[in-house]
Symmetry: C2
């Protein structure tokens, strides 16, 4: 899921959303049931209960490919009929004869060529194309040792990758930069939807790539204690208001072997985001932002000369604009593209006519004038005088474009139209924006569209459904094939009950969603301690209509121990639109905290809540929230565990930090108000701060400066450090982490 991608949410969230067990006040007798351990409930645990899944499902044209360990099947989506394509024994015979190694299963193979019976395999540093009909190796391409960020182009067969800080294509070194200049990798700390650093042109003959000069960025010193004498890891980490890196975009031409850089002017204090290619490969599109992040421009560059051809669109906002989606051209019309914007308050699709926008220069543009071109035109065509039209609208948001149906001229999307907790599949008719739901209208759907856009593999869950995988027809939304109904992963285990509801935010108007877990043997006549699990920051949502409303493993564990577990998605969190998010601008954590107090007021109104025993836990932004709540509301919260917290936004990085806080120079009051070291003296309850010593997202300086502030103020937080972990404690140690957190609440709450 999006918010767990390292690349999407830089402030990672502590937990993987768990998909759990029996739902809703079940009349369980726990007699025969086992009480689950952290090993059962926490990812990385030895007996972790994964929800059943089918790995590696994908499309081969309009045929669904189902990999298994020993066999590879094709499924006819119309009727679910399975055909055996090949076996591992057969493939390995061929591979071993060619001394290419062995496939240990089919889960990682790809079938990117609709017309051809070919697999793409990566084995021992070689990319191999294998024809399963002729049982032959069609081609092979070796990459250098130490290669990373591998980007294989299925059209041309060219392969781009990085070694250390330089970019390679096939066996050629494309850049030759010294340390401090990084090529072919993601830039701007993965903000603005940037997840990679190489971008093949549609035919795979040209490669656009990022070049980031960070030699001027002050490095943060992280220490690696696993060496015989500890060694330094220097992470070039631009902090809010400080000198930042400079990014350029290069284009490598595989035919000529030449590289040019876009002639974009001085890259200082600018962001180059959302790279995409024109279908004809002649031009490249970028969305450029100023450092203040309140002015975005969609720019078109000539791919042969690197010259700016025009500024097609501009967006401004007094708080911030945040482009996260490259433009996408309609497969059947190279002059029309879809642009996504939150301009009307929710992320929606806009269709533009390139011919009407091309060639504009920034200085000629009046932003509002351009936006006036955007009209929703009923007759299905972009109006004569209009440059574009709004395709979708309403108080809900488009989450992603899954693809297109060329024949029907539709774009297939995921959106929150049913509920902000859900994600459902819709088709949108391009000619008039007519929107038709495809899926069952429940829960959260992760979908994969077939090549022609006629079928979708729909992997979904709902509060009552751990996981279901079906193939749906886009034409009528009917299920044509059912592939999986996952078994309850927590079958046989004692499970708490899960409830959700809404309450009013501190503004008195906005509905906020909450989730509550109660012990299986809940007795309304008793008093229960409560632990609030909080994240609260932008780009994330804790309560969704996933299985068990996305209750986390640790929440289940603690509810089983007799705690009421409560979570509230405050204003500032994801999927509720722009204003819901940006009301926190320039003072992150303040409004969010007020909303959390509303949650506490609700809890206190419940007769079975012990108001004297309220705890709070969160990680990253949630660590900030936890610490802030402990300090701003010491009379409410008795115990807190804050993981990887932001303590002072001036120690956070430029891209995320300045978007929401501006710079310390521009917003000194806001930075001071949100600097938690200021409140160190308020600490009354028990607060455990946990930080990872290799955290290069939220550097250890946050926690250590807070500890110092508390020592100065003579207050007594507790501290724990996980050595050799980054922003999150992952893998096997995640169980240790949750045992540690559990013990703290058990000792003090």
């Amino acid at each position: 899921m999006k918010r767990f991608s390292k690349n999407v949410v830089t402030l990672l969230i502590a937990a993987t959303t768990l998909t759990g067990t029996h739902l809703m006040a079940q009349n369980t007798t726990t007699n025969e049931l086992k009480v689950p351990t952290l090993e059962d409930l926490i990812p990385g645990g030895e007996t972790y209960r994964y929800t059943e899944n089918l790995y590696g499902l994908q499309w081969w044209g309009d045929q669904c490919i189902k990999p298994e360990i020993d066999s590879l099947f094709a499924i006819n989506p119309k009727n679910g009929r399975e055909t055996l394509l090949t076996t591992r024994v057969k493939v390995n015979e061929v591979l071993e004869a060619a001394q290419l190694g062995k496939l240990s299963h089919f889960y990682n193979v790809q079938t990117p060529w609709p017309g051809k019976p070919q697999l793409l395999l990566a084995l021992r540093g070689e990319y191999i194309v294998y024809n399963w009909e002729t049982a032959e190796v069609v081609s092979r391409k070796a990459i250098e040792k130490g290669a990373a960020n591998v980007d294989y182009n299925t059209e041309s067969g060219h392969i781009a990758y990085t070694i250390k800080n330089n970019l390679y294509v096939d066996d050629k070194k494309i850049t030759n930069e010294p340390e401090g200049i990084v090529c072919g990798q993601s830039v701007h700390r993965n903000e603005f939807g940037i997840m990679k650093g190489t971008f093949w042109s549609p035919k795979g003959t040209m490669l656009a790539f990022y070049r980031m000069n960070e030699s001027m960025v002050t490095p943060y010193p992280l220490v690696d204690i696993t060496q015989r004498i500890a060694v330094l890891d220097r992470v070039r980490y631009p902090m809010a208001g400080m000198l930042s890196h400079e990014v350029r975009v290069g284009i490598y031409n595989t035919a000529t072997g030449d590289t040019l850089y876009l002639d974009a002017g001085d890259p200082k204090n600018r962001y180059f985001t959302n790279i995409s290619w024109a279908p004809d490969e002649k031009s490249l599109f970028l969305i450029e932002l100023n450092r203040d992040q309140n002015h975005a421009k969609l720019c078109q560059y000539d791919a042969q000369t690197g010259k700016l051809m025009g500024v097609l669109l501009e967006e401004r906002h007094e708080k911030y604009v945040e482009p996260q989606h490259p433009i996408q051209f309609l497969p059947w019309d190279d002059t029309k593209f879809i642009y996504q914007s939150q301009r009307d308050g929710y992320n929606h699709l806009y269709l533009y006519d390139l011919t009407k926008l091309a060639g504009r220069q920034a200085q000629e543009l009046d932003t509002e004038a351009v936006w006036e071109f955007v009209k929703k035109v009923g007759n299905g065509k972009i109006g004569k005088d209009a440059a574009g039209m709004q395709l979708t609208s309403g108080p809900w948001l488009v989450q992603s474009i899954l693809g297109f149906n060329t024949q029907k001229k539709e774009v297939i999307i995921a959106a929150t139209k049913e509920s902000p907790l859900q994600s459902n599949i819709y088709k949108v008719r391009i000619k008039d924006g007519k929107l038709t739901p495809i899926d069952n209208g429940q829960g959260v759907h992760n979908a994969r569209l077939s090549a022609s856009g006629t079928y979708v593999i729909d992997n979904w869950s709902s509060p009552q459904m751990p996981r279901s995988i079906d193939i749906l027809s886009i034409a009528n939304g009917k299920e044509t094939t059912h592939l999986l109904t996952a078994e309850d992963p927590f079958k046989g285990l004692v499970m708490p009950t899960v409830e959700t509801g809404t309450l009013k935010a501190a503004d008195g108007e906005t509905d906020l969603h909450w989730r509550m877990l109660k012990p299986a043997d809940f007795d309304p006549a008793k008093k229960y301690p409560v632990i609030v699990y909080v994240y609260g920051g932008p780009h994330a949502q804790m309560i969704t209509a996933n299985w068990m409303y996305a209750a986390r493993g640790w929440d289940l564990y603690m509810a089983n121990k007799g705690y009421i577990m409560f979570t509230l998605d405050n204003r500032g969190s994801a999927n509720r639109g722009l204003e819901f998010e940006n009301c926190t601008f320039r003072r992150l954590g303040v409004e969010e905290g007020k909303d959390q107090v509303k949650g506490i007021e609700y809890l206190k109104s419940l007769p079975y809540v012990d108001a004297q025993r309220i705890g709070v836990h969160g990680w990253s932004f949630g660590g900030h929230m936890t610490t802030a709540l402990m300090l701003r509301y010491p009379e409410i919260f008795k115990v807190g565990v804050a993981g990887g917290p932001v303590i002072d936004w001036k120690y956070y990085e430029v891209m995320y930090g300045e978007r929401y806080m501006d710079t310390p120079q521009d917003n000194p009051e806001g930075y001071k108000q949100c600097d938690l070291t200021q409140y160190a003296g308020n600490l009354k309850g028990h607060l455990l701060i946990i930080h990872d010593d290799h955290d290069d997202t939220c550097v250890p300086q946050h926690t250590l400066s807070f500890i110092k502030a508390c020592v100065d103020a003579r207050t007594y937080p507790d501290l724990f450090i996980y050595p050799c972990h980054k922003h999150n404690v992952l893998g096997r140690d995640r169980v240790h982490l949750h045992e540690k957190i559990t013990r703290y609440f058990e000792d003090y709450l």
Copy 2:
């Protein structure tokens, strides 16, 4: 006291020994008494109860100088009569007229010229000689800004100092070395008694100095979080078995301005210690050691040529030799010097005739043959065939030479002859070694000898006496003047009782000393929890015959809270001789732990001890002991707080580490046995590890690698970090530290 000097004990001990209050089972009714707080009891506390003292007492020839804030007095030691020498008003009139600033008190002035009525003052970076009779500034000498390690020679008036890594004399830069080569500062990490890097010749015309090339030493990365983006402090820290620094000794000639370096051969893996000058300034003496520290040589170098003149003495030991005292010539005979050695098992004085030793070459020497020259000769002269004689002997040790009485031909020493817990003053007749006690035979005496050696300022304490300052006559040991009887610093406070005793070590033979504090309202019918405070390493002794047997402030505090506080000086600790110390060789912490268990057995034999509630706390070596005891004896210790612990000796430095452990290459079994990460899985009780983030003595790698080992082993220590502190939490934050430690025991013991 010696063991608290940064320069003497590299593994610093957590606490300053407190000098406390009413002693022994007093029949206190606590009704009218106040319970002291940590602020009262911990150095750095806002209301810390210092023991009364007279600051700046010193000799001016044989007159005792007593500085006060506004006046400077001379005391006639014969009768205690005080004479006013000058006043601050008067001195400041002169200083201000010369624009030299102002004296704010007399406590830091010096009177180093017996014949002359002159003060040496340091003000605003100038060294000023002031004549109090003529009320004139006699001379002034400015030093550069940023000067450190200032060494003013009172004979010649030359002044040596360092700026960054280079050495200056007067206004001249003597060395011009790049970063990584340090001149004029202490070397070998302050081991071997090395406390400084400059050594003036007797007449102050020549300056011997250390030059340490540490450019080849891998730096340890410490992080300073107080900067806007955390910055690195690189400390060149040679770890056991790794490449170490290389030291040379230079001589700067103030007359010629020339510098030469001793021609001592390849400095790799060698130690150059205990520099001293010949009285005629023509030669320089060093005690050189091999890296294995089992072979020491007393070497004489020609100060004009730098050539080795001879190897005068050698010492070998299968475990280690540890020279800590430069040779000292008799003031009345330039051919005789005193050499200190633990050769017979205890540190004693040996008198040598330079003329009989001079010119020997190392390769000609048979060590044992030289030692055979050493004979205790009854007739008061070094025998005809002997090079030297042993001056003192017996199962006790000489702690320091206070000076000489030239007229009587006596050396005045501090020694443990009365008891290993005491330090008393003796005179030793040079001609036959006859030893005569000077002081009252009680407690611990810190003495300062007058110029002629006829009087001593005796600043002493005993279990019953917070502090007394007297002037004694060396001739007959009689008190001629009484200067101070300090008031009980804890008057009016509730105080526990203090008891001491001995028990047998784990070897079944050796007597070990213990100290026990009981609450003031101790009731033998009750059961009390116990906290063991432990250090346990070489060069330190926790139980001495100081005021209240050196009970620490925190011990007093915890005893008041109802804990029995227990400390035992195990084998390996100081002042008990060589074998007592070196039985721990190559496996530090193991025998020491066995002895501590003997202490626990004793405690368990007491009806009022709650054997289920035993805790342990210590810092540095005591942090190692605490951690080791928690892990090796998990069934005994329920709670531990380990501060700045050594966890694995391979992370400790070369000089101290290899002396006791050899190298990891030579002693792999020993290192493994003493590596506490091996036992991380044994942790059962509650163990809090505290480390300072700027600890350049015991680097944070120790604690972090232990935490990692515990996470790997799924055990659950607690952790706290004090930012911006070095090996000890000092100053105001020391109160915070002890509150933190207290809370941990209160929560879990």
